[in-house]
């Protein structure tokens, strides 16, 4: 019987549940899709560096997911509270009919359970469908081939989604149970008439809460700036927690603090309907401080991820230039110890490939120093750097000066003069790691083949010696020819520069050549500039897509929640506006009041988020070591406009609907 009541009320109040339900399903879908990212790798044929990259992204997403689940949990508990509020009268009727609290609570548990199961089912189905297109997308962005098509279901992601959402629904159930067991029948029946009660009643208490929150936030900012972005550091996690608690206390105390402050200013307080506005906002922020906190943190994540992604994209775009300096390159693949490195010239002859006369080319070898960058940099590395295994564990490549000057001549660069005891570093790793910049500043000598060479340039040359397609970072040492005579060859390479030919036919010819190599199992990779740049842009495009997606969804959902709250507020306050009208307030005054109120309500969480973002961007800048770049570039400006348009649009729509609700009453 109870099941039937629960089920029928789920169906009957579908109109009320629709937004709630859609939000839930969408949340589940998103959560699953992003957490299943790593599983998508199985259908893709990607090289190790791309796979590492994807793994890194998946790792970041799984860390973000914890935060996201708190956000979603908060949202769901809030939306549920909103629904319960609207159904209080119905619950009251159940009670007058003699149904006990426990049974009512049980019905609510059943309802939540049913809705949760439905949302999980639909959300997961959607998520699995959406994530199939993810693999195609990733394949495109990473320029990876798809293996035989396979339907990917990530069981770990499903388990994770079920666990997280299970916990969220459990907290909703606890929340509902507390509400039902606390209320009195009279309150349920009079629910429509009752005001939300104030959490902080004592004005001085709110001042103390406000001051504590300011101190907490200050400490959180300070700690986070000192430790930097380091998810493995418990002190960093502590600063995040302090930040969350601080934000919550800020919203708890903020309204009371400003109310008291502005009440002292009689000229402001006793002007037009200012005191009414302040009281309304004060009540609303006070009762909704939890959701205000969640919204503000959500906006913070939105702003931060959008700005960081844009900033990062700008960086990748920048490195992409130096990454592929030639029209085309060929590089022998990594060969097991003891095996023969394939001869590129021979392979070209076998393939019956002839260079055209406009294609200038140079063959050269890269030798191995025998130690890795990790060993060389030693104590300069920190935890974050250590995750870049591919670059850091690889042996350092050595290039002869004469070879280097020959390939420079290809792209019409001047020859470099190195004296007999000097060496030069070629690397763009400094774009990524600030530790590398520090390391380079302190590097005076480098030992090659037992001989100590002076470093001629403290700033490394950021132009690569071959087109690097997947991994955007490289590290080589250029040495006088005699020093490298006895070193072992690491790989052979060929650089080609097209001087005034047709790029399209060039691309076509070399793509065909690569295909021929692959088909005949020749261990040589061919990278044209177009392909290399495409891949590099692909990675940044992927990140941009990710950031924009999460960011905009967050932005919209927080705006939607704010809008929802304001409209609930509007229908709750209709009688107040009627009174204002009766005692002589003009329409203009009332519209201004509504405008101010809605504006403050949208502006405050945004302002707090901006404050957090300023600190966050600074920390992220340190993390990506991009001190030399300003995040406020042209694309950041455009992004700000988009954010303001979306958020402002929601604000204006809310203002208009609020007005019409009041007018039509």
């Amino acid at each position: 019987m109870y099941f039937r009541i629960a089920w029928s009320s789920v169906r009957r109040s579908f109109k009320d549940y629709a937004i709630y339900f859609l939000t839930l399903s969408f949340a589940v879908c998103l959560f699953y899709s992003f957490n299943s990212l790593e599983a998508q790798q199985s259908v893709l044929q990607m090289n190790q560096s791309s796979a590492d990259y994807l793994k890194k992204i998946a790792g970041v997403i799984s860390i973000i997911s914890v935060g996201v689940s708190f956000v979603l949990g908060g949202l769901i508990v809030y939306a549920n509270g909103f629904l319960i509020k609207r159904r209080k009268k119905e619950l009251g009727i159940f009670m007058t009919l003699g149904m006990g609290r426990n049974k009512i609570s049980f019905i609510l548990v059943l309802e939540t359970f049913l809705i949760g199961c439905l949302a999980l089912g639909i959300g997961l189905t959607l998520g699995i469908a959406v994530s199939q297109s993810f693999s195609t997308l990733i394949a495109g962005l990473f320029n990876a081939k798809m293996n035989v098509y396979e339907f990917v279901i990530s069981y770990s992601a499903i388990a994770k989604t079920c666990l997280y959402f299970g916990l969220i629904f459990a907290s909703v159930i606890v929340f509902n149970h507390v509400i039902v067991s606390k209320v009195k029948l009279i309150d349920l029946l009079n629910a429509a008439k009752k005001n939300e009660e104030l959490k902080v009643k004592n004005a001085w208490a709110s001042i103390i809460v406000f001051l504590i929150s300011v101190i907490l936030l200050g400490i959180a900012y300070k700690i986070a700036i000192i430790t930097g972005l380091d998810p493995y550091n418990s002190i960093f996690i502590l600063s995040l927690l302090l930040g969350i608690v601080g934000t919550m206390m800020l919203f708890l105390g903020l309204a009371g603090f400003f109310l008291l402050l502005l009440q002292r200013n009689r000229n402001f307080y006793f002007k037009n309907l200012n005191m009414f506005v302040l009281r309304q906002v004060h009540n609303k922020i006070n009762t909704n401080f939890v959701s205000m906190t969640v919204i503000s943190l959500m906006l913070f994540v939105t702003l931060l991820s959008l700005f960081v992604v844009i900033n990062y994209k700008a960086n990748v775009d920048k490195t992409a230039e130096g990454m592929a300096p030639f029209s085309g390159s060929m590089v022998t693949r990594w060969i097991e110890q003891g095996k023969e490195i394939p001869d590129i010239e021979e392979a070209l002859n076998n393939a019956d490939f002839r260079f055209e006369h406009k294609e200038k080319h140079e063959f050269f070898n890269v030798y191995t120093l025998g130690i890795s960058i990790k060993e060389m940099m030693g104590q300069y590395l920190d935890e974050n750097d250590k995750s870049d295994k591919l670059l850091l564990n690889g042996e350092i490549g050595v290039v002869r000066l004469s070879d280097y000057n020959r390939i420079r001549a290809l792209v019409k660069e001047d020859a470099i003069d190195l004296d007999d005891q000097a060496a030069m570093i070629i690397s763009n790793y400094g774009n990524f790691s600030s530790n590398f910049v520090k390391f380079m500043e302190n590097l005076e000598n480098v030992t090659v083949n037992g001989e100590s060479l002076r470093i001629s340039h403290t700033k490394p040359v950021k132009e690569n010696i071959v087109n690097a397609p997947y991994w955007p970072y490289f590290f080589y040492i250029v040495v006088p020819d005699r020093v490298a005579l006895e070193l072992k060859v690491s790989f052979s390479a060929l650089d080609i520069e097209l001087h005034g030919g047709d790029i399209e036919s060039f691309e076509e010819r070399y793509t065909d050549l690569y295909k021929q190599f692959s088909d005949n199992d020749v261990e040589i990779d061919v990278y044209t500039k177009e392909k290399a740049v495409l891949v590099a842009y692909g990675i940044s495009a992927f990140l941009t897509f990710l950031g924009l997606y999460i960011g905009l969804v967050f932005l919209m959902s927080s705006a939607v929640v704010l809008a929802l709250q304001q409209l609930v507020e509007a229908s709750d306050s209709v009688h107040r506006y009627r009174v204002l009208k009766k005692i002589g307030a003009t329409d203009k005054m009332i519209n201004q009041t509504i405008f101010k109120q809605t504006f403050i309500y949208f502006f405050v969480p945004f302002a707090v988020a901006v404050m957090h973002t300023i600190v966050g961007v600074r920390i992220m800048n340190d993390f990506f070591a991009t001190h030399n770049r300003s995040v406020l570039g042209s694309s950041a400006g455009l992004l700000a406009v988009v954010i303001i348009l979306i958020y402002g649009g929601y604000f204006y729509t809310t203002y208009s609907s609020y007005k019409s609700i009041v007018r039509n009453s």
Partner: protein
């Protein structure tokens, strides 16, 4: 002396040609400064329509209403709003206090809407609160006040702007008899000491007995008028009851 309120042959029709209801059917009366006038009548007698027309909430079909010499029937909406704020004070049956504001702020709101200077507000509120005996509860919210206190706060809000005319619509309708008595006594006091002009609509004979003069309405017309003169309130009450019984059920109605 120029009357505060001069209602001159007003009519108010509802509906279209074929089916016209005359809510007010040719009413004229005058109220002088310092008068406490009651309007009595059963439901549907047109007393609320009359009040709405005087309070500029509704417009008349024909006729004129002069308040303080100003014809409010041909004022445009912007000036009408200003007129309402400056010349009229309202007291409602259900108090209409804002639950988010303290008693003090509720009273202050009437002044801020009028555009009163901030520095004068405090003294004006203290003065009127003293007269209505609510000085002690000014810091409290409406939910902390009793019904009688709420209505006296609402009254304070109505008179603090010093309006020419106070319009009270069933002010005792939501009060218990003791609170009603206290409120009406404060009305009497305001009327006597401040020369406040009050027009009170009620269907309750006891409430009406506090006024100086009573208009009885029936079917949109003024049916009778009683002046208290030198009667005691008890005697006046008795006369009201007589009229009410006449109003309520005519022998002719039974037939």
């Amino acid at each position: 002396m120029e009357p505060i309120l001069n209602v001159d042959r007003i009519e108010k029709y509802y509906g279209k040609k074929a089916n016209i209801t005359k809510a007010i059917d040719n009413i004229s009366f005058k109220v002088n400064k310092g008068e406490f006038i009651g309007v009595m009548g059963a439901s549907g007698s047109g007393k609320t329509t009359l009040l709405n027309c005087i309070s500029t909430i509704d417009t008349v079909t024909t006729g004129h209403i002069f308040i303080n010499g100003q014809d409010i029937t041909d004022l445009k909406s912007a000036r009408l709003e200003k007129f309402r704020v400056n010349e009229l004070g309202f007291i409602f049956q259900d108090f209409n206090l804002l639950d988010t504001l303290t008693a003090y702020e509720n009273i202050a709101l009437a002044l801020t809407i009028k555009g009163e200077a901030a520095k004068r507000i405090d003294s004006l509120i203290r003065e009127v609160a003293g007269k209505l005996g609510i000085a002690e509860v000014l810091g409290q919210y409406p939910y902390q006040l009793s019904g009688g206190q709420k209505q006296r706060v609402a009254s304070a809000r109505a008179i603090v702007t010093n309006p020419s005319l106070i319009l009270a619509d069933e002010p005792t309708g939501a009060l218990d008899s003791k609170s009603a008595k206290l409120l009406l006594e404060s009305f009497e006091k305001l009327n006597r000491e401040l020369q406040a002009t009050i027009l009170m609509v009620t269907h309750d004979a006891f409430t009406a007995s506090y006024s100086n003069r009573i208009l009885f309405m029936k079917d949109g017309k003024v049916f009778n008028e009683l002046v208290r003169g030198n009667d005691s309130r008890k005697q006046f009450f008795g006369r009201i009851i007589e009229v009410v019984s006449l109003l309520g059920g005519d022998v002719s109605d039974v037939l």
